[in-house]
Structures are given as structure tokens and as C-alpha cells.
């Protein structure tokens, strides 16, 4: 495809342009700048992130995010909780894709204990994982519209996300915070009729993706706003530890669903890992759109092949995790989410290091925002897509 080579060039050009803007800002005559506080309460930060910008006119000379307005100290809190209690906490890290947060923690605990969930549980886990990805990213697609001034997409996103949340609630009981994973399997099996309902919903979601494609991604205004804006070259992305769609949008073909072997069902389905060579805001948004669609296809495939059997492995009722250290990370909606669990053979973990995706994704912001205009600050932040709970933990 000739587009690809062209895009590659454009990426390079945009990178050079960013550096040139940087240089120019340093040489140009200093005018009296203005410091603009974006946040902590600002519609663009969906949460309480504060970004301090030095402006020259509408151009950002220097920007520094200031997090911590919502820090809940989860790493400390896990130390006073038992292993089953931790899942209720980690639900709330990325609150839009909460089920996906439980999985890596439970997997880490299972790895330390040497148990593995039965195939049916693994399968259902993967389905719910993908559903939470859809719930998360569909909201992103709507929110993207709002950040750019289009008000309709967000309502459509909420409309269709509702169906997914209903499914998650129908299976787990929790709409936002399922707390459905248990060490060794799942709390309960699926209720009757759930699979058919899910199939119907996946159709709706694909329709929603098409709508978003027409409403937003095909829109020329949207494209002028996002193409060539906020370019992250792949080397930089990798250095900063960007993950998920942000990394793949920079052309790095890295997806933990495919690239590591976990006791989950992704290796049983056939799916495409989308990458984009551009690394700009458009690429990041576009990747997410494609991944939502891909997720619906993954769910469809998984629904067809749910094995019969138990959903819980044999584990003692009172869980003591043997001494050891384990790292498990999964490809969460926002990117790589991992837990480094250290156990001392107690009821609770000794230390849990939570590696959340948004923390790394946002750490690139000071580098990325130099020389852009104020409206682009908003699009870039929107396209990086962070959840405050995921930054502050």
C-alpha cells in the first residue's frame, strides 16, 4: 500500500517539525508568556489531572502534568488486605475496564500458588476481559468527540456501552466493579441466556463502530485536527514504556495478548493486532476503534467455543499464598497492566507493585506537548487516553 510509505515520511517530517518548533521557541524573542492551569477540574482531564502550561500566545512552551489529586495509595492498602480482598481494590484502578484489572492480579496469585483455573473459567475470564475492553474503549470513542467539540458521539457511546455494562452486570453482578475473579477460577458461572444476549450486543457494538467511523473518523475536520498532531516516534514510545494502543499506533507490533502465554483463552482465537505507522493522534484513536471491532470478533469466537466443566479449581477456602515473587501483566484496555506481587506466605501480599498503563502513557506528556497549540493539548491528551485512577492508583 502506497499509503504506508507516505505515512512513514510524514511521521519523520512531523518529528522534525516538533524539534524545529522546540528550537525556535528557544531562540525566538521572549514575549511575556502566560501560565495556564489546565485542571485539576477541567472537562478535558476526565478526573483531576492538572497540567501546568506556559503559553506564548496559544502555543505551549512548556507543560508539566501534576498528578496526585486522586491518589488512593493502593499499593499501601494492598499490604493490609488479604488476597481475596485485593481484587475489590484493583477493580477501581481503571474504573472503566474494571474486570481487566482483576485478571493479572489473580493470575499472579495463582502463579505463586501453582494453581491454574479450569478451561471454562479461563474462557469466561477472557470474554469478560474483552467486554471490559469494549466498555472502556467505546467510552473513549465518545469522549474523543467531546474533547473535539462534537457532542453527539458521547451519547452514542454511552448508549452502546450500556449494553456491555448490562452484560457484565448480568454475569458478575457488578456493573463497574465486578469482583468476579477468584484465585483458582471464577465466583460463579454464566446465567442462562447470557451467551445469546452477548452475541446480539456484539452486533450492536460493531454497528456502533461503523457509526463512529462515519461520524468521527471519516470526518475531514477530525482528520485535520488529529493527523500529524502529537507524533510519538517508535523509539521514544518504547523508551517511555508506552503501552497498548499508544505503542501500537507508533508502529511497534507489541500486544501482550499474543506475545505471552497466559492461562487465558487468547491463544485459542484468531485475531489481528492492529498497528499504525504514524504515531500521531489520529493513529492512536484509529487503533482503538479497530481494536474495539476486533474485540467484538474475539468475543464472538470465544462464545462459540466455551468448554463445559467446572469454573473453580481446588483451592483451600482460606488462601495463604506461598512465599515468592511473581510478575504478571496483561494487555488491558489502556495498555500493559501488571502486578509484581511479593508474598511472604501470609494471608495478604507483602508488597504489590502496580504497574498501570496510564502512568507511563502520561509521563510522555511534557515531551509531547512542547510547541503545540492549546486545542492540540486537548486532542493529544484525549488520544493518549488516560484514566485518572490508573495514573494515581
Amino acid at each position: 500500500m502506497s499509503v504506508e510509505t507516505m505515512l512513514g515520511d510524514r511521521q519523520k517530517l512531523a518529528y522534525i517539525a516538533a524539534q524545529a518548533a522546540d528550537a525556535r521557541l528557544n531562540v525566538e524573542l521572549e514575549t511575556e508568556g502566560m501560565t495556564l492551569n489546565i485542571g485539576p477540574q477541567h472537562p478535558a482531564t476526565h478526573g483531576t489531572l492538572r497540567i501546568i502550561c506556559r503559553l506564548d500566545g496559544e502555543q505551549v512552551i512548556w507543560a508539566e502534568p501534576s498528578a496526585g489529586y486522586m491518589h488512593r495509595g493502593y499499593e499501601k492498602l494492598t499490604e493490609v488486605r488479604t488476597f481475596p480482598q485485593v481484587t475489590t481494590l484493583v477493580n477501581r484502578i481503571d474504573w472503566l475496564g474494571s474486570f481487566a484489572n482483576e485478571v493479572p492480579f489473580i493470575l499472579a496469585a495463582e502463579k505463586l500458588m501453582g494453581v491454574e483455573a479450569p478451561p471454562r473459567a479461563q474462557h469466561i475470564r477472557t470474554i469478560l476481559f474483552e467486554l471490559s475492553r469494549i466498555a472502556n474503549v467505546s467510552l473513549f470513542l465518545g469522549d474523543l468527540g467531546v474533547q473535539m467539540g462534537a457532542i453527539t458521539p458521547v451519547f452514542m457511546a454511552f448508549r452502546d456501552r450500556e449494553y456491555v455494562l448490562n452484560l457484565i452486570e448480568g454475569a458478575t453482578g457488578g456493573r463497574f466493579h465486578p469482583n468476579f475473579d477468584r484465585i483458582g477460577g471464577l465466583f460463579n458461572d454464566l446465567p442462562k441466556g447470557w451467551i445469546d444476549e452477548t452475541r446480539a450486543t456484539m452486533k450492536k457494538l460493531r454497528n456502533f463502530c461503523d457509526e463512529m467511523d462515519a461520524l468521527l473518523f471519516g470526518n475531514e475536520i477530525f482528520q485535520t485536527r488529529t493527523r500529524g498532531i502529537g507524533v510519538i516516534p517508535s523509539e521514544i514510545a518504547v523508551q517511555y514504556g508506552l503501552s497498548g494502543p499508544n505503542l501500537r499506533a507508533s508502529g511497534v507490533d507489541y500486544d501482550l495478548r499474543r506475545d505471552q502465554r497466559l492461562p487465558l483463552a487468547w491463544d485459542k482465537v484468531d485475531f489481528k493486532v492492529w498497528t499504525h505507522p504514524d504515531g500521531d493522534s489520529f493513529a492512536r484513536c484509529w487503533i482503538r476503534l479497530q481494536e474495539t471491532r476486533e474485540s467484538t470478533l474475539i468475543v464472538d469466537q470465544l462464545l462459540d467455543t466455551i468448554p463445559a466443566g467446572p469454573i473453580m479449581a481446588k483451592v483451600p477456602r482460606i488462601i495463604k499464598v506461598p512465599e515468592g515473587e511473581a510478575w504478571v501483566s496483561t494487555e488491558n484496555p489502556l495498555g500493559e497492566m501488571g502486578y509484581y506481587v511479593i508474598s511472604k506466605g501470609d494471608l495478604g501480599p507483602f508488597r504489590v507493585k502496580i504497574r498501570s498503563a496510564s502512568f507511563n502513557n502520561i509521563s510522555i506528556v511534557p515531551w509531547l506537548l512542547r510547541g503545540v497549540y492549546v486545542p492540540d493539548v486537548i486532542t493529544i491528551l484525549a488520544s493518549l487516553y488516560f484514566i485518572l485512577g490508573d495514573i494515581d492508583r
Binding site: 492498602l77 514504556g241 506475545d259 505507522p277 473453580m312 515473587e325 509484581y340 504497574r355
Partner: protein
């Protein structure tokens, strides 16, 4: 625009992990103190404190682990407060404060640890280093730019100093906050402000002595379902 079927990396994982340790050993010499390769799982290495940055550079350039995952610290001292479930009316419980390090050992209370991965080879390395009394270690920013915020976080949460970090400001905590919350001896106030509701036990009959643990057979949780019972029922 992408490829769907790159071989799953774990197939070649262990060989890669062994190789990574060997490469690191030849790059660092005796600065690599200990290493542990768990087959099919992960690899841990511990390096001398003064070789922290050299190890980072070696990991990036020699081993080819380009992807920065995280950097943080561990306080190996067990918490003197337990899980905050003590009875405030009783004298404080005696807890062992014996420091016992995890994989690849260690000599000091604090350790800095990090993880870097490869986006192409699909494996990662956990790397640790002891911290002396000055809690000083070289900054990793020259090796991995993304370490910036992680080092700031470790600085405020554990009080670790990173030599060569341009800007060790507080990230989450207010400027001027005293103490380092993630240290084990920093009390978690949420668990101190009120007593644990689970301390209270069923009041005995008048004239009966307080029940010893395990006495009230019908209601004691541990006896009902601890050992070996399946959780699936």
C-alpha cells in the same frame, strides 16, 4: 498493516532468559551478584548498587531489552503494625522485624527494583539492587527516559535518592510532606482511626469465662472451612 502470527515467544523464552543472564554477566562482571531463572516464567538478577546504571545500559544495548516497564523500590522490613487489626486496648503485639529478602537475596532493608522487556523477543528481566544507608542510586534516565516519573514516585514514597535525576520533586504528595508513605513503618491511618470490627467477639454467658480461641466449636471460622475444603461449592 500488521502481522497476526508471530510465534508465541514463550517457546524460546528460557533459552533467551539464560542468554540474557549470560550477556549481563559478561557485561558487568562481578557486579552481577545473583541471578535466578525460573523456567517458563521469569528471570531475576541482582546487581551491585554502583553498577545500577551500567546494568541498565547493558540491558538496553547488549541484551536488547528496549521496553521500559517500571521501576520502584521494596522495603523488606515487615510492618510493625500488621494489618491494623490489633485491639487498641491491649498492649501492642510483638511482631518480628526480621528482614528477609526475596528472590536473589540482598543485604539491605531497601532495594530498588525495575523491570524491562523486549518488544520483539517477548521476555523481560526483573533487576534489583541493594541500597546503602544513604539510599542513593544512580538514575536510570540516561538508559530509559521513562524512568523519570517512576524515580520521582520511588523518591517520595520510599525516600530513595537518584543521583543524576534532574527534577526529584514530589509527584503525588504535597510539597513539604513529611515521611515516606510506602515505607513499612509509616502507619496507615485509615486502619488506625477506628478499631477493627472483627475484634469484638460474641459476649459469653454471665458467669462463664471468656472463650478461648477454638473453644466455640460451632462458630469459629477457621475450624469450619480451613484445611483442604474445596472452595468451589
Amino acid at each position: 498493516m500488521s502481522s497476526a502470527d508471530t510465534p508465541v515467544a514463550a517457546l524460546a523464552g528460557d533459552a533467551l532468559r539464560e542468554r540474557a543472564v549470560d550477556q549481563l554477566r559478561s557485561a558487568l562482571g562481578d557486579a552481577l551478584i545473583d541471578s535466578l531463572v525460573k523456567p517458563g516464567d521469569d528471570v531475576w538478577v541482582r546487581v551491585r548498587t554502583d553498577a545500577w546504571r551500567a546494568a541498565g545500559l547493558a540491558l538496553r544495548d547488549t541484551v536488547g531489552l528496549d521496553y521500559f516497564c517500571f521501576l520502584s523500590a521494596i522495603d523488606w522490613m515487615p510492618s510493625p503494625y500488621g494489618r491494623g487489626e490489633d485491639d487498641p486496648t491491649q498492649p501492642p503485639a510483638e511482631r518480628s522485624t526480621e528482614i528477609k529478602q526475596g528472590y536473589t537475596g540482598g543485604e539491605t532493608r531497601f532495594q530498588v527494583f525495575a523491570r524491562v522487556c523486549s518488544t520483539t523477543l517477548h521476555f523481560g528481566v526483573n533487576i534489583k539492587a541493594d541500597l546503602g544507608d544513604d539510599l542513593m542510586v544512580q538514575s536510570w534516565i540516561p538508559c530509559y527516559t521513562g524512568a523519570n516519573w517512576h524515580e520521582r514516585e520511588a523518591h517520595e514514597m520510599f525516600g530513595i535518592n537518584f543521583a543524576g535525576h534532574p527534577d526529584l520533586r514530589n509527584m503525588y504528595l504535597p510539597t513539604g510532606f513529611e515521611g515516606h508513605p510506602m515505607r513499612k513503618d509509616f502507619p496507615l491511618l485509615a486502619r488506625m482511626v477506628k478499631p477493627w470490627p472483627g475484634i469484638v467477639d460474641v459476649e459469653p454467658l454471665p458467669g462463664e469465662p471468656d472463650p478461648m480461641p477454638g473453644d466455640t466449636a460451632e462458630t469459629e471460622p477457621a475450624e469450619i472451612d480451613s484445611a483442604g475444603e474445596s472452595g468451589g461449592s
